[in-house]
């Protein structure tokens, strides 16, 4: 019996290695979140949907709100504190991340970046380790900002579940496509479940925020339908 890929698994379910790897035994298996190897069998630790990706990656997809830092993730954080040379940034993990003032584009010891407490930053995780404080940077390997840095000029920040954030980041995301056909807006999504949206005006921004939140339990057709209704409603409001 093959592993129930795409089906719901619950904690305590076990698979043998053979179940996960039905055809080629020389392939490596990679166990992602929610799975653990224990005494030659694989245990499920989280309730969710078992997913598989070639060549041999297995993980459990479940509803999550708490972010666990992983190296290389792009996140949105809120600057909480200024301590000497570093900023403490809340990225939704159990510990606050640190952000050095030197890790902004064009910043030097003399030329400090203009970051205030309460600002939001789009950054990448440089260090993510279970025993260490996470560290984020706003530059890439070449010292360029590459879209990262402090997010300014209004807009609205809100929190979603991590699943929804990943869904939005999917290049095939129906919601953003169909919203993009109707509205002009800027969006930045952190994998830590924080989303920043800015549209032409406040009413549109809120409409977009609500449609993103409402899309969590909708399928693609329903999302399209919703976008149509929202754009109608918003345009009517703006005429008045």
């Amino acid at each position: 019996m093959a592993a129930p890929i795409g089906n719901v698994v619950i904690p305590g379910d076990t698979f043998s290695l053979l179940q996960l790897q039905p055809n080629d035994e020389h392939k490596k298996i990679l166990l992602g979140p929610g799975l653990k190897e224990e005494e030659a069998e694989i245990k499920v630790l989280r309730p969710g949907i078992l997913r598989f990706r070639k060549p041999g990656v297995y993980w459990v997809d479940c509803h999550h709100k708490r972010y666990i830092p992983a190296k290389g993730d792009s996140v949105i954080g809120i600057v909480n504190q200024k301590v000497g040379d570093i900023f403490r940034v809340d990225i939704g993990s159990s510990e606050q991340a640190s952000l050095s003032y030197l890790s902004f584009e064009g910043s030097t010891k003399r030329n400090r970046p203009d970051v205030k407490v309460g600002d939001i930053v789009y950054a990448k995780l440089l260090v993510a380790n279970k025993d260490m404080e996470p560290e984020i940077v706003c530059i890439d390997g070449y010292g360029r900002s590459n879209g990262m840095g402090v997010i300014r000029n209004g807009g609205f920040l809100f929190h979603t579940s991590l699943n929804l954030a990943r869904k939005l980041l999917n290049p095939e995301c129906t919601l953003l496509k169909s919203l993009g056909n109707r509205f002009q807006f800027e969006i930045s999504v952190g994998v830590n479940g924080r989303v920043w949206i800015k549209a032409a005006n406040d009413v549109q921004t809120i409409a977009l925020v609500n449609s993103v939140i409402a899309s969590e339990y909708k399928d693609n057709d329903q999302i399209k339908e919703m976008c149509k209704r929202i754009s109608k409603a918003v345009s009517r409001m703006e005429v008045d």
Binding site: D90, D119, G154, D202, Y217, D219, Q222, I230, R236, M237
Partner: protein
């Protein structure tokens, strides 16, 4: 645990939006969120939902000595629990400043308004009296715990029944619930708290703030009132100055809100009473429907465009149904099929959605019927070719 800080971006946006006379969730300035009142199976247990804020109140009683200073009175304790379950920033055990303020206000609302006749709780003067205890547990914090808690507490007190007591000389008997019907407490009136939040030097005022609005507010005024227009509590916190007119306006708004909420409480109490009398399902069991997964339940208010067409001046998508108290929540379940037109297969048999012909029909009969239908259809289509009517319509006409 730390609370997620509020970013400048959110703060500015919310304040800006309020200045445009709009709110994030689409309510108007004087709107409450949806209010639901439910009672538990045990007496004096009340669960109140105000939007996503949830509070559970439980009243209990025991016999003890009355206070020395008031030998003819029973005693009422009010206890507010803020556990980390409600909001991660609340700490277990230690009372925060917010917690102290909350429990103090609740005490003032319930004890100092003298809504409860404490003298009737006395059993033997100076020796024995009922000690009532109201435990208020905050289950979820999404703003405005205070109003929610006051509704829960007063409804729980109105719902509570204490055991009957008879005194013969020296002998005191407390009758069990089986021996004698328990007695309700004598509530003179129902004081409720209504909080008003102020923004930009008291320029803008909102009722029933959400947790984000509470974070950006400048100050808060709490009005405790009953439906007889009697002021029970008044408190102003925060750094702002208020005009006399504003206070008067707040109190008149509070009156309308309190009257409406009191009605809702009475309605909920009456519903519970009727359910108990009839032996229907009562208590929290009613809240749970067995055939649905409730964990993903969302009240269908996130984006409700239908009502938007009616109220054009609203900021966005949520309905502004004020205090739509006992309305059932609509449920979102994943993969709900779209509404599609009913397709008529044979006479008296309709089909909704996909799935093909019904297999419940008597097969041979249906076949012959269909054949007959086809034959006739040919004739009909020959006759009315230019009309181009669809097959379905013909079927309906033929049978």
């Amino acid at each position: 645990m730390r609370e997620t800080p509020l970013s400048n971006c959110e703060r500015e946006f919310i304040l800006n939006f309020i200045a445009q006379q709009k709110r994030l969730d689409g309510r108007k300035a004087y709107d409450y969120r949806d209010l639901r009142i439910a009672f538990g199976v045990s007496l004096g247990c009340c669960h109140v939902e105000l939007g996503k804020t949830r509070v559970l109140a439980q009243v209990s009683c025991e016999v003890g000595e009355p206070k020395q200073t008031r030998p003819h009175d029973g005693v009422l304790y009010v206890n507010v629990e803020l556990s980390p379950m409600a909001c991660p920033s609340f700490e277990q055990g230690r009372q925060s400043e917010e917690g102290i303020e909350l429990s103090r206000l609740m005490e003032r609302c319930l004890k100092e308004s003298r809504c409860l006749d404490l003298e009737s709780l006395c059993i033997v003067s100076g020796e024995k009296a009922w000690h009532l205890r109201v435990d208020i547990h905050v289950l979820n914090h999404e703003g405005n715990i205070l109003d929610c808690a006051s509704i829960a507490a007063i409804s729980a007190l109105a719902h509570f029944r204490r055991p009957d007591v008879s005194v013969h000389g020296e002998e005191i008997t407390i009758h069990t619930l089986e021996e004698r019907n328990p007695v309700p407490l004598s509530l003179h009136h129902m004081p409720l708290l209504v909080s008003f939040t102020f923004f930009s030097q008291g320029k803008y005022m909102l009722i029933d703030p959400s947790s984000k609005e509470e974070k950006v507010m400048e100050g808060k005024m709490v009005v405790g009132m009953n439906k007889h227009r009697e002021l029970c509590t008044l408190q102003v916190t925060g750094q702002m100055l208020l005009l006399k007119e504003q206070v008067l306006r707040c109190s008149s708004i509070a009156l309308t809100k309190v009257t409406r909420i009191t009605e809702l409480i009475h309605e909920a109490l009456e519903n519970d009473k009727q359910a108990r009398l009839k032996g229907d399902k009562h208590g929290f069991a009613v809240l749970v429907s067995g055939d649905k997964v409730t964990s993903n339940r969302l009240p269908k208010t996130e984006v409700k465009v239908d009502t938007l067409e009616v109220s054009d001046d609203m900021g966005e998508s949520q309905s502004s149904e004020d205090e739509s108290g006992n309305e059932p929540m609509e449920e979102h379940t994943e993969g709900v099929p779209k509404e599609s037109a009913v397709e008529i297969l044979t006479k008296g048999v309709g089909m909704i959605g996909e799935g093909g012909a019904s297999t419940w029909l008597d097969v041979p009969q249906a076949d012959t019927k269909q054949l007959a239908a086809k034959k006739q259809k040919h004739k009909v289509s020959k006759m009315e070719e230019d009309e181009g009517s669809s097959e379905e319509e013909e079927k309906v006409i033929l049978k």
